[in-house]
Symmetry: C2
Subunit: 487 residues, 2 copies
């Protein structure tokens, strides 16, 4: 049965939560008195719809239903999870929780997106404080997995565990913060760097652009995959963490930060920073920057997913969870070619003609076929076990020109299959029209022996019903063509 | 003529510098009195050899020659660039600079890897202070592009510019820090976060592992591609940077960081952190962690390269620089298929089977055909004039498995050609044996009209003699095959 999430407060953060729940199949009801709320949520949702499928190697299930409620009472009725993302004012949050708890189920988890308040502060005066906790996400909420989950001493541990399970189900990484503290964990670091950065700009040491380069050309790349301590552990070399600390510990007494103090926050500082930021990024609109950011994050996350590391591990686990749901009997539609991949044409895929470079059409087809192979269980673990499908032969028809930013869908039809052979016909579609078709003969091989051999029974058990059903599909006209054949 | 870099101090940082210079074709002489120096440099170099080619889409040129010197005098003799990476003791660095300047060329740039000292401090008492400056890199030096270049008021601007050019030539991003300050820019942020993190561990709020997750599941990913200010600009939404600052400026007065003070650095704190770090990462050796880190960084950097963004832009510019240096093909022998391309299988070309990923065979063929098109004058300028050859259809035979490091040669035979059509048969060979053949039908098009049209007379004048001569070559057996055809 489709579950329901209530999203109270629909800005960039609330919209990100709504998108995560919706794209993971939950129904979502939003309450936000802002007359612009529907438009704003729509924009976040459009970004999320463009981004989230690019992280998935499992076809996305059906979206949930989005609705807007006129009152908090209406929004939370029947909700299985409630997330509050209103402005950072404690009195306002207290009023919102009071209204929520007038009609919400007694045990329904109520997460707050607050970055500044501790759960014990949020719970003050509540009818049922034990279900209120911090679930602090990071923008863009639909892409970054982190949610800091912070309970207080008054929290119901069962509710916290239930909430963490739900967060995992929508692809997040709930980080259980065991001891409440102002700003939780991550924002304390952000604040420390922010203060230091303001000083550097104010004192004319560096511009906003130079500071950003100092981060993204160096340690930012390190932190995206290992964080602080593991990075330093490696830097310490074989001598390890103690050695690293012995080497750098004494620096603590050096005058390296200005953080004993904070810069005065005045119009002059705001103008200085805003002016530099305009000079740095003003040639892009915010919408463009959002798309660039999301595309980069997708690239990072996919790189980590390929390596089963960090945030990529979260994505693989999420895929595995959804694949299990998908392969439930009757969940694959066998009455048409299988839609196995969604891609966007990236700048690096473009050739000097301004079109997608020709090897990328085959790349797109490979992504599609790889997804089919994973679906039938011929996945990475299967390859590690010494067996794989190798492509023996390929025929490509170039039918259109994909351009930068085009969204492509890969579908695959099984033309024929037996124990050893897998004859596939892949279409790379834009708006439902093929820009290329790729016919391939794949052979199942014993990799050590370097010879073909029958696929494992459990793979054939998944493959054969698809092949059988696909016999009923019309044979594509391009199947069996040779290069240069007159049509 | 091959240039020479002198590396003074051969630890992890010095070794990283040595690797960058060597793999970019420079000769390198290292001075380090540590009897283990040669082994240590060898380990860094092995990591770099496994990593750096994975970032390149241009074949890597020949490595420079590595040698070890018994004295600083010997090391710096004839050097075009000198990099100092000895321990962080100012008296030691002063002694090293004095020795260097006894025999180095007068105008030779001397960069220091110091993270703690300002250039004016380094220059104190030097014979020629104007050539000494800070060139502060980030570990792993062979992968991360950032080098903070910090001159002082006494620096020779021409030497600084020459040094920046050299750093770009070895693939780095020199960030010119205009105002000297303790710890330059990036390490001030690292230090701020490090102090805050030590407090959180000491106070039992979070473990080293939880802190790393709080970074790498969230803002670390953001910072690897946009840094701090651009990220916040996007977070501010259409209202921009001023709005963001108005919203978050007031937080500066909140007690969010402990950085007014530093934690006491004692054995207890070291043991606490080292113990947690062991629990977090102790199941990997440092060597394993280095490989994991490098693989992740390669993934991030390639993702950015595909998008021509941030550190990826640096890589694309580095490729373009090296491609220009590569020589054009020599005289044409028409009695055999034309040998048009030489390639090496790079780590990024490998799939989960451990073999070259299938779309890279077509990529190799495209490189080969593009070289033929350049040969007949259908080059980038021709495309800018509105005409190009488009591939209409492709047939690939996979005949062998190319593996990491394999040297491949691309040959092409013109099967047929007329004014509009160009029928090509490309072979991708390893040791003279084809691992794949690719048959392609290319059509000459008027790009604006989106229609075929006759090629320019000067192109046909170069193409037709080749087509005529190739009529005498045997027709390849695979030409005209369709996919799945019984042989």
């Amino acid at each position: 049965m489709t579950r329901k999430a209530a999203i109270i407060g629909g800005g960039v953060i609330g919209g990100g939560w709504a998108a995560r729940f919706l794209l993971n199949g939950w129904n979502v009801t939003v309450f936000d008195p802002d007359p612009q709320a529907e438009r704003k949520i729509g924009e976040v949702l459009a970004n999320a719809r463009a981004a989230l499928p690019a992280l998935s190697d499992v076809p996305m299930g059906a979206e949930g239903k989005l609705s807007f409620a006129a009152t908090i009472t209406e929004a939370v009725e029947g909700a299985d999870y409630i997330q509050e993302s209103v402005s950072e004012r404690l009195d306002l949050k207290h009023r919102v929780f009071a209204q929520i708890q007038q009609s919400a189920g007694l045990g329904t988890p109520i997460g707050s997106s607050t970055s500044g308040f501790k759960p014990s502060e949020l719970q003050e005066g509540a009818a049922n404080p034990s279900v209120i906790f911090v679930a602090h996400p990071f923008n863009p909420v639909y892409l970054l997995p982190l949610a800091e989950v912070v309970p207080s001493a008054r929290s119901d541990q069962k509710v916290i565990e239930a909430a963490k399970t739900i967060l995992r189900e929508i692809g997040m990484f709930p980080l259980h913060v065991r001891k409440e503290i102002d700003a939780h964990i991550a924002d304390r670091f952000l604040e420390a760097v922010w203060r230091e950065a303001l000083w550097l700009v104010k004192d004319g040491v560096a511009t906003t652009e130079e500071i950003d380069e100092a981060i993204r050309m160096g340690f930012g790349l390190r932190w995206g995959q290992m964080g602080l301590f593991e990075t330093y552990r490696v830097a310490g070399g074989e001598a390890g963490m103690k050695h690293f600390m012995a080497q750098f510990g004494p620096c603590l007494t050096w005058p390296w930060t200005k953080l004993m103090d904070v810069p005065e926050f005045n119009d002059e500082l705001v103008d200085l920073i805003a002016g530099q930021s305009d000079a740095q990024s003003g040639h892009h609109t915010i919408r463009e920057l959002e798309r660039i950011r999301d595309s980069n994050l997708i690239g990072f996350l996919r790189a980590l997913k390929e390596r089963n590391w960090g945030a990529g591990k979260v994505l693989l686990e999420h895929d595995a969870r959804r694949r299990t749901e998908m392969l439930a009997p009757g969940s694959v539609d066998l009455s048409a070619p299988l839609e196995m991949a969604q891609m966007q044409v990236l700048p690096g895929w473009i050739d000097y003609n301004g079109h997608m470079t020709e090897s990328r059409y085959l790349f797109a087809a490979s992504e599609t076929c790889d997804a089919l192979l994973r679906l039938i269980g011929a996945d990475m673990d299967y390859v590690k076990g010494g067996h794989s499908y190798y492509t023996a032969e390929t025929h490509i028809m170039h039918l259109g020109e994909a351009k930068l930013g085009d969204r492509l869908t890969g579908t695959v039809q099984v033309l024929a299959a037996d124990e050893k052979r897998l004859h596939l016909f892949t279409s790379i579609l834009r708006d439902g029209v093929a820009v290329a078709t790729v016919e391939q003969m794949c052979l199942h091989v014993d990799m050590a022996a370097g010879k073909t051999c029958p696929a494992a029974p459990e793979v054939l058990a998944k493959l054969m019903p698809i092949a059988e059903a696909h016999k009923a599909l019309p044979k594509p006209a391009a199947a069996g063509r040779f290069t240069g054949q007159r049509s």
